[in-house]
Symmetry: C2
Subunit: 345 residues, 2 copies
Amino acid sequence: MAVLRGPSADQPAIDLPHAPTLADVARRAGVSPVTVSRVINTPALVTEKTKLKVQQAIADLGYVPNLLAGGLASNRSRIISFIVPGTHLLLFNETVQEIVLRMAEAGYQVLVGFGGSNDSAFNESVLSALARRPDGMILIGSAPNKVTRERLLAARIPVVEAWDSPRRPVDMAVGYSLEDMSREISEFVISSSYQRPFFCWGLGPRALAIRHGITQALVEAGRPEPGFLQYSFPGLFSDGRHAINHICELPERPDLLLCISDWIAHGALTEARYRGISVPGDLGVCGFGDQDFAAHIDPPLTTVRIDGREIGRVAAELLLARLQGREPPERSVDVGFELVRRKSA
Amino acid sequence: MAVLRGPSADQPAIDLPHAPTLADVARRAGVSPVTVSRVINTPALVTEKTKLKVQQAIADLGYVPNLLAGGLASNRSRIISFIVPGTHLLLFNETVQEIVLRMAEAGYQVLVGFGGSNDSAFNESVLSALARRPDGMILIGSAPNKVTRERLLAARIPVVEAWDSPRRPVDMAVGYSLEDMSREISEFVISSSYQRPFFCWGLGPRALAIRHGITQALVEAGRPEPGFLQYSFPGLFSDGRHAINHICELPERPDLLLCISDWIAHGALTEARYRGISVPGDLGVCGFGDQDFAAHIDPPLTTVRIDGREIGRVAAELLLARLQGREPPERSVDVGFELVRRKSA
């Protein structure tokens, strides 16, 4: 532990002749050591009154349990590793919040690592996370390659892949089907009056799969292959303004923008208004994500709703079931998605 | 460690007669054990070529270092605890990303906890984090009370309070001065032609401090006390639409909205357009945060820019200095802020 100098060398609230132990806390609170342990490790299982009493004793004595040592002794670290794509935190906010909160309620803390921008970085993140001997792991996305899969299997801990619906999950998975989504968006486009869709899209494996699925369905329906402009997922408001400027210079102007995020779609709507392009008349705009603003902008945004909070809730539930020695009812949960039709397309 | 059943009971890539050790990896990579250890713990200090060689050996053997055991032996966990306000992840995205990435580069992993919505929840989060024996801690916000301060001091680890500039940091701090900011916003309002400012604001200690500072300066300048409507920080686009509806029903309509986030301000601009309220003529709108869209919306948003990435960078730097046994040049770093004047006010 680093040595601290200066003002931080003060003393804790109450001095005992020795560093306060769990037994000291139990004595002061008038409860059993097991109860103190429960308050620390599984607070959700303790009554509010007991919790307050024990927490007061902990505060009075300045007791700090050593879960690191406890973890080694019990072979449990009470740490969950959570690998999040490096640059996409924005889209996954609700999933991250839900997982951190639910695991904390159950007495686990969450070690967050970023997956980086490629498979090799992802692999490194998984290794680095496993080295902390987590009791379980949640990934946003799928294990990208064989090495990582094998490493996860060898760790013999429960693993949840979230957002994706991999055909062969390493262990458990919760997400939505990219194929179903591609099909539903394609059907929407084909049944609409729009003739020249255009992708403002990203390049990751998930983004490519959706774009490929939609393009294939359109071509099979006798439509021309849509144009494409790449934006870093999940994209910015300014990207949408750029996209409108770009398509206005094309020889044949697209009449439908499929944007990989609501942020891009929102920027596109704003730039379209500047330029006097009527939405949805001259140009349809679709977003992705159903962010909080999507229903409130002008015109309200047609978009795809993914329930990130529900994905987080289910991921935590799957992991906790396994950590508590139960087999979850399903190993692979599809939370679905919803194509929300509003006025922008 | 939880026992895993089913398909996860597969075997790793290469079987040794024993679980692969660091020495096995060193032998296979043709380097010293110290070098392997460096690749694992401080990859930034190793050449790319050596790193790849060692990583390949690690992958081939399916080696997983046990940093938990290593942590106990060396009394270092290589874990940093990071407490983030529960519902504000959105605003702190860049700070979180920067801290997780920079600490990972230096061989540390970041345990994220949410501070919850009140001091007692915050205190619990700090306790729960300290129980994992982190090598250091970063808080967004300040240690809210004496108990938490004492607990942090007693842990004798380096602590950084970020975003705030507390007068007496527990240990180190990086942020901006709420007083300076209140003064600059007040001067802007007083020197403008707006007569009736109105706060769309939050209730946390930081939000209250700014609101109080501005109100006081306005009253001292002979202006009436501004109206106030509370929104949960950092607020949503829909809150801004609601705010416009609210002020339109007031007997004397405010002519300047001071919004606690750019999201609220953006919603307010949109609703104002619906209602034919001219911005900035009839109504000025100010945001907070200078989000990516602020410069691109219509009209471009006058707002306060806080460099969350820089705060994260400095927080990591302060912590790493102390972890490496150096005293940072400053214990309290003010990264400042900028009142960005655009067209909305």
